[in-house]
Subunit: 463 residues, 2 copies
């Protein structure tokens, strides 16, 4: 079910777009992530185009298609490339998408001279990534957020329920909830600190809530995946077919207001603590590009229950994981003013998730819920067992550590601030802070496949 | 902030569409709810048209507009009527919508002869509601479900937390959660019983979950409201402006799988227990039509906290309630086979909600979350203080009654089945059961304003 290795993964492939051959680039010809760039030249106009990233350039696929270089028998692809988002392209059969990928690799390497030899076309279709205005790649009609890192769930659970951090359902099903689609924004969009109801103390006994700016603003490092082909309402997606319904992956920052969340979330879950903004990276890395980085799903311990049959697939166990390295960086306003580079707060890996992306999608549709092309499913905070692999400040500045030996499980309020190079301290985000997520896959014998960045600066609350 | 009484509410207005003058009709000329009907004549084609209901007829507004009867200065309205859903119409300024309403009342009464005198146009534009194929009126890009009935929350809370049924946040903010937009279906669509993970006993201690058909399938009687004009991300909607952002109301059946819900819902809220289907009625009653039925918001007791200032509006307290009578009816497959009419299971009233629709919308946007035209917000189960006003089977067949004097607060499992005329019994829904929601406003000196029906038959689980 995961895609086999093929010619498009060959590390010896070189592109005539020279920057794509730089070993440090996120975007070699083996990657070819999709994005949507606004190519309008006049202010006030928009001209969104579906592109792939190649080195430090973007390739406008509508121009390539209009020049007839994608093959006369690919009418569906040509049609899909005329839209302003990837929704239609994602809905095509996986064979169509693989054929498009193969053809783009040909056109960008010496396997074909069709594009390279047409200087005029290259002049129109290829343009610098730097300065390009990137848009939301999908419309995203439904957004779902999971909670698939057992390390994250254990850390957070330990703060609020030290004796019982992991609820009984956690290891039986991928816990998730519906998110807000309207407030998904593209990387680079500033994010306003939300207002909300906050308690002055630990509980209502300490005084009534007041309405004011969130004081405990946080990021969450997540990986998202977009649905490709959907399923009909009332029909589920079997685990062995799940990856055929996944188009590609991106980085997600699930901004969170911890004080709003604590007061509002029972009994129906997070709501306004999350719905003020969710940032996504502009590049959608196709699942096909990740084949060299597939790995075993996280091993269950002997104490853990076996997943139920509908969530168990042989292939999913063997290759359902993804060895995707992730980083969070922070630059305060003062750091940026003084020209100090962002500092790394943490690094994690998607392979540390308790549930695979196929298990999340299959579970989501197991009640017959219909998925549509462009629906976004996010992993939940990616945290690992170590302190430096904690994917949000709620965990990162917390003094407890249930994975230490012996465990250190302190109440939620005991925190040690992070120190920034300017001498500033952070338990949670301050206005002006810029959060930067990065992701990339690396393995000996294969080219690096990068996800680019997902950025956002915190604006002060209020109008 | 709620709309004033005007000529369109005059009970003496008569329409030349005779069926609209029947005192029992849901759709007098004082109502004029919007819907979308497919007028395609060839199989396989679609031709969705925005209509209003008038008596037993529908009036195709595109035909009326194309004939030039809506006024030359109404280009925005004419444009909005060309779309296949109400999204664009809802996004217009409230003055535009009120002008359209005034004009339609003129055209359908003796205030104007413009439509009535054009027999050819009437022949094309006016067609029978019976047999019309009604579609989803909005695209609904985000769907939010609240929990605004304190009676519902107290009943449900009493089942699971007899000593502490209402959580501390309940009376400070309208608790809500994001729902699934993709599985919203129009009244009349069959609803397949979901599969899901079910525990064999009360807790995991009694045995591990198994995957199978939901055994405790339920409906929830709710009222939905659609957003008209939206708000920009990062900007909230003040309580005194909230109703200007509400287009109209409908009936909602928030189908629920109680056994799936109980196992999955902690800590992030309901997910697959709800996302398999949500049914909406086809008619959207404009807020303007409900003016005669506005009433005081539910009175707080002296023990209840005052809502915080951003959720407090003088007008909202005076007229934020809506005296909307609601009913749930049931017809089993056997009843239908034997020609037995549906029986009424319960009746409630939207005025019994603890939070007003303006409070729900203002709360939702209070963190800067952006609302878009056509977003659906639902009230949560409408239950009242009496046994016969309980809006779902979870409450209706439960033996406890925290509002009785003295209270009868039994654990969640003690249930007495409902008896159907066929001798069948129901604690929860059986395959083949049809659930029918109805809603209407009545008041001496005014015409009845009805919501029509929201129907759905339960199909067996599986493919």
């Amino acid at each position: 079910m995961s895609y086999p290795l093929d010619d498009t993964h060959d590390p010896k492939l070189k592109s005539w777009v020279e920057s794509a051959n730089d070993p440090a680039t996120d975007f070699p010809v083996q990657n070819l992530p999709f994005c949507v760039a606004d190519r309008a030249e006049e202010p006030g106009e928009t001209d969104p185009r579906i592109c792939v990233a190649i080195g430090d350039q973007l390739l406008d696929l509508l121009e390539v298609s209009s020049a007839g270089l994608l093959g006369a028998d690919d009418g569906d692809i040509a049609m899909a490339l005329q839209f302003e988002t990837l929704d239609d392209l994602a809905s095509l059969p996986t064979d169509d998408r693989r054929r498009l990928r193969m053809r783009l690799v040909e056109l960008l390497t010496d396997k074909s001279d069709d594009l390279r030899s047409d200087e005029e076309l290259v002049g129109v279709a290829l343009f610098p990534r730097a300065g390009a205005e990137l848009l939301l790649p999908f419309e995203v009609r439904d957004y779902t957020d999971f909670y698939a890192s057992v390390y994250h769930a254990t850390n957070v659970g330990s703060m609020f329920r030290p004796d019982n951090p992991i609820l009984p359902n956690y290891k039986w099903l991928p816990v998730g909830y519906h998110g807000r689609a309207s407030s998904i924004v593209i990387s680079g969009s500033p994010v306003r600190r939300p207002m909300g109801q906050l308690l002055p103390g630990a509980t209502i006994e300490d005084g009534p809530p007041a309405f004011g700016p969130c004081k405990l603003m946080d990021y969450e490092l997540e990986v998202g995946f977009y649905v490709g082909r959907g399923n009909e309402l009332g029909r589920s997606i079997p685990i062995d077919k799940a990856e055929e319904h996944i188009f590609g992956l991106c980085l997600v920052n699930d901004w969170s207001a911890r004080d709003i969340q604590k007061w509002e979330y029972q009994p129906l879950g997070p709501f306004l603590a999350k719905s003020f903004a969710t940032s996504v990276s502009p590049f959608v890395v196709p699942l096909e590009a990740l084949t060299p980085y597939r790995c075993r799903a996280m091993e269950r311990s002997s104490d853990d229950p076996r997943p139920l049959p509908h969530l168990t697939g042989d292939m999913d166990r063997e290759t359902g994981g993804i060895d995707l390295k992730l980083e969070v960086l922070l630059a305060s306003a003062e750091m940026r003013k003084k020209g100090i580079d962002p500092i790394r707060l943490s690094s994690g890996n998607l392979k540390d998730m308790y549930w695979t992306i196929a298990q999340m999608l299959t579970h989501h549709s197991s009640n017959g819920c219909n998925m549509r092309p462009g629906d976004l499913l996010a992993s939940g905070t990616v945290s690992g067992p170590k302190r430096e692999s904690r994917g949000c400040l709620l965990e990162l500045t917390w003094d407890g550590d249930p994975f230490a030996n012996p465990p250190v499980s302190k109440p939620g309020s005991a925190r040690t601030p992070l120190k920034l190079p300017t001498g500033e301290e952070r338990k949670f985000l301050a206005d002006g802070d810029e959060v930067i997520l990065r992701g990339y896959c690396e393995r000996d014998g294969f080219r690096r496949v990068g996800f680019g960045e997902c950025r956002g600066v915190v604006l002060p609350a209020g109008d």
